[in-house]
């Protein structure tokens, strides 16, 4: 990690999220290269790109769930670990076992755990917050339902409620619209807009190009590196999309792959740069 040579953020109130030159590589497969991303407060940033572009990886790397090979990440000007209580997270729905013996309320209450810290158990106030979050996503009638007895859209709303219960300023959402019905999608986007109006910042991984320009005011077009990033109308051009989804990328990924493999065999420099 060579963070010291890089310029520090200059403005007085630090951006909710600043990613600089982030590179992430799994043991064999390189995934993200030199990602730069600054999300201004109160923006909804859509992370869009083809399958395997590293969208989820980016979210996970921001939260330190995956080790980064180089670059730095600052959340409100701090390393992520110092800002955990200010970050809410909606993982992909498939990432958990829905047969787990908890009900919807239990899951939402987990959103309070980060603020509680160790050795403390949820209080009545925490439970009330969890209830109101369930209410916001219109899931209060299902609070006592075991989570496998919920539909896909309902499960997604429970995950959203859990993130709301975190009462964070920055939200990272991994494909919150996958497998939900149209009504749920509309309800979710409404809640996201509400959060935005409260000045919160949202980073949302999204795979549906048709709705992306409607949902987000900024878009990060991703395909292993940043293809384009900025205001939606500037970024969402045919050329950029062609760049992100088109054939040219396969060469890059091929070269990247062979370099990483050479590195694994020990005859390439430590730091993969393209």
């Amino acid at each position: 990690m060579s963070t010291h040579s890089n310029p520090e953020p200059s403005s007085k109130t630090p951006a909710p999220l600043e990613v600089h030159d982030l590179t992430v590589a799994y043991t064999k497969r390189p995934v993200l290269y030199g990602i730069d991303l600054t999300a201004p407060a109160g923006s909804i940033v859509g992370v869009v790109g083809p399958n395997g572009a590293g969208k989820s990886t980016l979210i996970k790397a921001i939260m330190g769930l995956l080790p980064s090979a180089s670059g730095w990440i600052k959340v409100f000007g701090m390393p992520f670990q110092q800002a955990v209580t200010r970050v809410g997270y909606v993982p992909q729905r498939e990432s958990v076992d829905w047969d787990f013996p908890v009900n919807a309320m239990d899951v939402v209450l987990m959103g309070r755990y980060g603020r509680l810290g160790p050795f403390k158990h949820p209080t009545k106030a925490d439970k009330e917050i969890a209830m109101s979050c369930l209410d916001k996503v219109k899931m209060l009638p299902f609070a006592k339902r075991q989570i496998s007895n919920l539909s896909g859209g309902q499960q997604q709303r429970v995950f959203l409620a859990r993130a709301l219960a975190q009462e964070s300023d920055l939200y990272l959402m991994d494909e919150p619209f996958v497998g939900v019905d149209a009504a749920t999608e509309a309800a979710i986007i409404e809640i996201l807009r509400e959060l935005q109006q409260q000045g919160k910042t949202l980073i949302v991984v999204h795979h549906d190009l048709t709705t992306a320009p409607d949902y987000f005011d900024r878009i990060l077009l991703l395909n292993m590196r940043v293809v384009a990033y900025g205001k939606t109308q500037e970024v969402f051009t045919f050329e950029n999309l062609q760049n992100a989804y088109g054939g040219r990328l396969s060469i890059l990924s091929e070269v990247a792959l062979s370099r990483a493999q050479k590195k694994a065999e020990g005859d390439a420099p430590d730091n993969i740069r393209l």
């Binding site: 955990v84 209580t85 993982p91 990432s95 013996p101 908890v102 987990m110 755990y113």
Partner: protein, 504 residues
């Protein structure tokens, strides 16, 4: 006092034979279940034979009294020990079950064997502390090795666990066999570590058990929310700043302790079953994690006591298999009689549903009769209904009787009379008529929804509606109605009963 918990020399002599059985059972875990079932069949006869052999010196009830009065210190030790073991293994095993790590329990229990042997060799005696330290070390090494293989190779966790399990166990069997062959080995008592003998629990073992149980329960209480969050969604737990790696190793350490202290009474081979089975039974009975922990603890303790007691009754059967049989029986009961997911419940529910659907179909036919008359007639006789439903009089009469029994219809001619004939007339009660309207409404709305909103052909929709009419609730029906903008007619031109008409 019978010759209870006496060293069984024949078992000692059979030890090497047992070893061979061991190795096979590692490779074929299912054999264990079969063997257990076989044992279950045998227990009664064995206990019986023992009783006859000893000329019924004590009756079954007296033995039970003897055991549960806890007069004899060996019995006290065995009872307390198996209770604590059941408690420890039940609670900690719950986390294995919900995290789908059942095989890890198996790996852990087999991996400790070489540690047991080395602990024994330390000062050539069955010193519980030396064995505890050796076994814990081996167990942690085994788990760490699984993690290391998973991280550094492309092998997945299950293969890693399978290999570590067998490798460590093989080493353990060799070491224990060597000890057995040494002079001192004759009375080493190491064979008890294979199948377990609750009577072999020393006061040192009990201390260890007590300490481990206390530590486990205290740590689970303190870190309950961390363990819960981590087990459900490890990414989220990490994202909210929980030290998930440390928590994972803490849980693994507790599990290792539980396995090691249980070895004496349950044995290496079957201790994993005690981790999994009570927790699995609890999982079938509840949808909340904390209740699962409580139930698993109770089931574990019950299995422990049950095992110790049956072992006492049968005199020379090892405790481990009996404890596991106890927990397997509890699991079987939960599987069959569980109020939510039990087989019996499912069967009853299905039966009730079939009955309800039959009633509703009859009601619907009566509605059709009434509709054909332009809703002018309310009384019908059985032969009319039989014709409408296209079936014989006898079964139609049965259906009407069911309606009457369910208080949905009444016999017009003779209130409560048992004499029925083809001409017997009946009328729907208000509740029956409401239900009939509801079913017809569900049916016709669904047909309309399929044709209008889902673009089905109108001649394709009837059969589907026949099924759906019994299943959709009022909320969905109302949503369909809104979606279709309160329609009046179904695709075949028939009127759809309106909500307000039904309740009016």
């Amino acid at each position: 006092m019978r010759a209870f918990w006496k060293q069984d020399f024949q078992a000692e002599a059979n030890f090497s034979r047992m070893n061979r059985q061991e190795r096979t059972s590692v490779l074929v875990p299912h054999l264990r279940l079969l063997a257990s079932l076989f044992l279950l069949l045998m227990i009664s006869s064995v206990a019986h034979a023992a009783k006859i052999g000893e000329i019924a010196e004590t009756s079954w009830a007296e033995q039970a009294l003897d055991f549960f009065a806890l007069k004899h210190p060996a019995i006290r030790a065995a009872a307390l020990g198996t209770l604590l073991i059941g408690f420890c293994c039940g609670t900690l095993g719950s986390f294995l079950v919900v995290r789908k790590l059942a095989l890890l329990g198996d790996t852990l229990s087999h991996a400790v064997l070489p540690g047991v042997a080395l602990g024994f060799l330390w000062n050539a005696s069955k010193d519980p502390w030396a064995i505890f330290i050796g076994a814990t070390g081996a167990g942690i090494m085994g788990v760490a090795l699984v993690g290391w293989i998973k991280q550094t190779t492309r092998l997945k966790e299950d293969s890693a666990m399978g290999m570590v399990l067998a490798g460590f166990y093989g080493l353990g069997v060799c070491l224990t066999s060597m000890i057995q062959n040494m002079v001192m080995g004759n009375k080493s008592g190491l064979d008890k570590f294979f199948f377990g003998q609750a009577a072999a629990l020393s006061s040192g073992d009990l201390w260890l058990l007590g300490i481990t149980s206390s530590i486990s329960i205290v740590l689970i209480l303190i870190f309950y929310k961390e363990f819960l969050a981590m087990s459900f969604d490890i990414g989220f737990a990490k994202a909210v700043g929980m030290p998930v790696r440390a928590l994972h190793y803490l849980l693994m350490a507790l599990l290792t302790f539980a396995v090691v202290v249980s070895l004496q009474a349950v044995g290496v081979v079957l201790v994993s079953a005690l981790l999994i089975t009570p927790a699995a039974a609890a999982y079938l009975l509840t949808d909340r994690m904390h209740w699962m922990l409580v139930l698993a603890a109770v089931f574990g303790m019950a299995s422990g006591i049950l095992g110790a007691f049956t072992s006492y009754l049968s005199n020379n059967l090892p405790t481990g298999p009996l404890i596991v049989l106890g927990s397997t029986s509890i699991f079987a009961l939960a599987l069959v009689f569980g109020p939510r997911y039990g087989l019996l419940t499912k069967i009853l529910r299905r039966k009730r549903q079939r009955k309800r659907i039959a009633l509703e179909n009859t009601l619907k036919s009566v509605f059709h009769l009434s509709e054909n008359s332009g809703f002018t007639r309310k009384e019908f006789d059985i032969s009319e209904l039989a014709k409408e439903r296209n079936q014989d009089l006898a079964s139609t009469e049965k259906e009407i009787r069911a309606l009457v029994a369910a208080r949905l219809a009444r016999n017009v001619d003779s209130e409560g009379d048992t004499e029925w004939s083809g001409k017997a007339r009946f009328q729907l009660k208000k509740s029956g008529w409401h239900r009939a309207c509801e079913i017809v409404r569900n049916h016709r709305l669904w047909e309309l929804y399929l044709t209008n909103a889902a673009q089905y052909q109108s001649d394709h929709v009837h059969d589907d509606a026949e099924e759906i009419e019994h299943l959709i609730g009022e909320d969905i029906v109302q949503r369909i109605e809104e979606r279709l903008r309160n329609p009046i007619q179904d695709p075949h031109g028939k009127l759809i009963p309106r909500r307000d008409q039904i309740t009016a």
